[in-house]
Symmetry: C2
Subunit: 216 residues, 2 copies
């Protein structure tokens, strides 16, 4: 990351790294901290220790760097977590819900996911359909699980619409993510997030299923 200033000309093999990947990581870091307009090509190059013109041999323009960085970070969302838990949902509902919260925490606590969260929030992507679509489809996906539970008699039918229940479980977790799992969250903030994730899932399980929460 912090190479010393190079001399003119192509650097020798021994000093070569994966420049493109380093540039994308630096870009994601700075974009997430200062936003798209708040981050200059120059600043990204300086972060990696290169001249700014080198970015134009790897990317077409600033927008292209942004897109490449977002593609690299990938969409590690709630849907992924739900898919991974597919086998577990027929076993113990309360355990499923708390495990889901734990799983979401693990995914969203990684440095890169936290940078993506900051970036989503910053650059209008929040107000783009990207994030709200993500929430909507995760809610719909979880609602299917709840409907199945109702059909199987594992969940009372008179609580309310499955979609409303799914929103009531996921929205506080998504909210805690945005508040406390961002790019430069302190260890304390990350603990707060974890605490909120688990306590909310536990409360939700107890109130809707009438069961005590499983031991952590």
């Amino acid at each position: 990351m912090d190479r010393t200033r190079r001399r003119v000309g192509r650097p020798p093999r021994s000093e070569a790294g994966d420049t493109r990947a380093e540039l994308m990581a630096a870009a994601l870091k700075l974009f997430s901290r200062n936003g798209f307009v708040g981050t200059s090509i120059r600043a990204i190059a300086r972060e990696v220790g290169l001249s700014e013109s080198v970015l134009y041999s790897h990317f077409r323009n600033k927008q292209d760097i942004y897109q490449a960085a977002m593609r690299m970070a990938g969409p590690q969302g709630a849907i992924t977590a739900l898919d991974a838990l597919d086998g577990l949902d027929s076993a113990d509902p309360a355990n499923f819900l708390v495990t889901l919260a734990e799983r979401l925490f693990e995914i969203w606590d990684s440095p890169q996911s936290r940078q993506v969260a900051s970036l989503l929030v910053r650059d209008g992507l929040l107000h783009d359909t990207a994030l709200s679509d993500g929430i909507e489809s995760a809610v719909a996906r979880l609602a299917e699980v709840f409907n199945r539970w109702v059909a199987e008699g594992r969940l009372p039918a008179d609580l309310g619409a499955a979609e409303d229940l799914a929103f009531a479980l996921l929205a506080p977790i998504a909210h805690a993510r945005m508040l406390w799992l961002h790019a430069d969250a302190s260890p304390g903030q990350r603990r707060t997030a974890h605490d909120r994730f688990v306590r909310h899932a536990t409360l939700f399980a107890r109130v809707t299923l009438g069961a005590p929460a499983p031991a952590e």
Copy 2:
């Protein structure tokens, strides 16, 4: 807002408006849309139809405009809504909760509140303590109400910590606000937000109080 280009010199009385207020409103609008760094002094001046140098006779610098605009918009938060409902909480708990959701919607649906929401989300204020402190104190304030209800036998004592319950009610509402009650939300998005606010409060009341929701 869209005055034609003025001629040199102080404008006659007939054309004078409240320039300072117009500048702050324009600044809030543009900051909320494009962020602090994404908004130039020049753009704010052009929005009001004045030369950019006029901003320096009303404000010290760009940062000063930002602060003035935020102060003008004011902190119309959940605490305000809770205070306004103070008399109601001893009457009908379910009604109190749904009324709170309606009240929060009214406050946060105004154009200026929506601009503030966008701005909070954009310029790191989300990651500043400002917003998370706001949530924390609103949660604490509502938890007091819940504790009183438990003491009065209006709310079952075995549901969980009052603070967790308060978070479970408020976080989805705050989340829906950030997703759908932003600066340039469509009428459809604003309806979605209202729908979410009310449906969540209704569900929450039914599940925790065991009572049917009051008619809207």
